[in-house]
Symmetry: C2
Subunit: 387 residues, 2 copies
């Protein structure tokens, strides 16, 4: 099978984009990604989106965005797997290229939260959980994550503020990412004094819902335009896995089975082992998710994920740098765009374009986006290869 490579990347700043519509947001990322690819002509458009049918009363985004981007005629469709929707679009874009059926594909993640407000957003987010058995009881993703964190702290005797390291690292890294929503570092005191949202989750344990779009152009290696200007990044592994949708149906709620399953499968396909991964873009929607991903993927033993953060081992110069461009916490959580943001950021690192946030000699990056509490996990291994 021929190598699937990243030809172009593009992204909008994550934030509150009251002034532009969903289609404009997506277009801005597409324009930059196509330009960055040296002008490859995409034949297909794969959209990752989580909540537009509810938040923007707009389904059928593939056709909407293809038209607005001046690509009328090409194949286009939307992929949904809750918070992993962007990862799902990336995986399908990858398969379309790997199959030989498509030569150049645009993978776009887009989400617009600001079309609706508070309770409407909570209700929309709750549709990603098990509506009949979770949402009807009033469970929201945040209230559920609080229960998960409570249990974790109890089981593993995590001290108060034990999770601070995740937010500190994310915000430190956000300072170096021009596309991030939050670009100010925070101090341990800031975390310790933060407003409690869903006890024990405080404001800094929760990634902010925000608008954003990110885009990739994928192609096969031999189809890259001559004079391609960037270091070459290959999609070396791609995998997806599901667990029970409802948290209460799991044997062990403190084990993100899919995170391990999909990461191992992607690494196996890439022909590497965990030690070769130079950085990990996790799905820190809630800091407890980050801790559980670190454990299930194998960077920490069970119950010790939070310590990696507390010991500063997830920082840019740590043992396993995470959220290297700010993660969901500081870059912002743009719903179904998340997996594509992770991909753009990983490509940025592997191209050596990450500026002050650059991981030195990065060769392999692992990215993983989650739908719900790892009800879905989609993992990709990106690799820097010789041009």
């Amino acid at each position: 099978m021929s190598d699937v490579v990243i030809a172009g990347i593009g992204q909008t700043k994550v934030g509150e984009h009251w002034e532009i519509s969903l289609r404009e947001l997506a277009f801005n990322a597409i324009r930059d990604a196509v330009k960055d690819s040296g002008g490859l002509k995409p034949q297909a458009l794969f959209i990752g989106n989580m909540l537009a049918p509810n938040l923007s009363n707009q389904a059928h985004l593939g056709t909407l965005i293809a038209e607005y981007a001046g690509l009328t005629g090409i194949e286009a469709m939307t992929f949904e797997a809750a918070g992993a929707s962007g990862g799902a679009a990336l995986r399908q874009g990858y398969l379309s290229i790997a199959s030989g059926m498509v030569d150049a594909a645009l993978v776009v993640g887009v989400e617009k939260f600001t079309d609706k407000v508070g309770p409407e957003v909570d209700a929309a987010l709750a549709t990603t959980s098990d509506t009949d058995f979770e949402a009807v009881q009033g469970v929201t993703p945040a209230s559920q994550a609080a229960l998960l964190m409570q249990r974790y702290m109890h089981e593993y005797q995590v001290p108060c503020n034990g999770f601070a390291g995740f937010a500190l690292t994310a915000h430190a890294n956000g300072t170096g990412n021009p596309w991030a929503m939050y670009r100010k570092a925070i101090k341990p005191e800031t975390y310790a004094k933060a407003e409690m949202v869903n006890d024990p989750l405080n404001l800094f344990d929760i990634a902010p819902n925000a608008d954003g779009a990110a885009a990739l152009v994928l192609t096969r290696r031999e189809l890259l335009p001559t004079g391609f200007a960037h270091a070459l990044v290959k999609v070396s592994g791609s995998a997806s896995a599901t667990d029970t949708l409802a948290l209460h149906d799991r044997k062990d709620i403190l084990w993100f089975e899919t995170a391990g399953l999909s990461a191992n499968k992607a690494m196996k396909q890439a022909g590497i082992v965990l030690d070769q991964i130079n950085f990990f873009e996790y799905h820190d929607m809630f800091s407890i998710y980050a801790a559980l991903q670190l454990e299930a993927v194998g960077f920490a033993v069970k119950g010790q994920g939070w310590k990696l953060a507390a010991d500063n081992e997830i920082a840019l110069k740590g043992k396993i740098p995470c959220a290297t461009m700010g993660g969901l916490k500081a870059r912002g959580f743009a719903g179904g765009a998340t997996g594509v943001y992770q991909a753009v950021e990983a490509a940025t690192q592997l191209r050596n374009q990450a500026g002050t946030n650059q991981i030195v000699n990065a060769k392999y990056g692992l990215i993983q986006s989650l739908g719900g509490p790892a009800s879905t996990a989609i993992s990709h291994v990106f690799e820097r290869v010789q041009a």
Copy 2:
């Protein structure tokens, strides 16, 4: 590239399934398809769904249904392209197998309309049009189709009741399909006296919204279980295309550009020409859609699609049999399940299992599902091959 073949098919009766949930509906089709495949173990689940986030307050269907079907662990995600969502899932299932990354894939279309009522359903359906420029003006798919039909009748001087042939054929064929919602043939007088819904669309020009699920197991030819019990059906062509989302943005609103584009691409891949197609499963959401598809695909010249129906040439023994198991009109319109129902029905024909509706010596079937007024069209060519 190795042949992608249909190993198993399954479907539920289309109708009003008040008594079972969306996940149960999907499971019933999955169970039958897996059994029909001789027990192949699917590694991936591709869901086509159009409106569950709105109609059932349930997103994240991939994981929901994988779990309910006892497939926890496998890859699963949802594909959306309005009415073409089932076709989108089929295409991605096809690509996953063609790429060699997945060995056996379940493609499932599922929709449940009866969780909501009248105006809520209309509002949900309107999200598939251009919300900012169409839906906000109060345009629904049916009211838009009425305008389209009005214009068509004016341009081509179609007589009153000129479209009757579409409903007559669909209902005649529905009598032979045990899974169809409506199984009674209708007479020309029934059509002529039917209640006007959106002038000139009468009750029989509109397919009924209904609940249903259909499923396929896809694999590569060499992976079929030994002793595979059915005639072999290959997916010989697969293509998808988009037009403007809003109808008013087209140069010619009476030309379904995507229907022709995607059908031609799929036939080219299959290495056949139009004359070789033995039957055509179109997307007769509205009878005017069927007429315009017949023209754009090339079975009739522009303005004459309705005549094929009026002259009985779309009947089972006509020049080009259409809606051979009842189509959307008589089988019922189960939203995002439509493209998968078409696939199941085409496989049934090519396996020679269509009973009284059997097309004699059928070798090639063309199926095409639409999102909106051909804003998206997804076409597949199925071929009966030697085992």
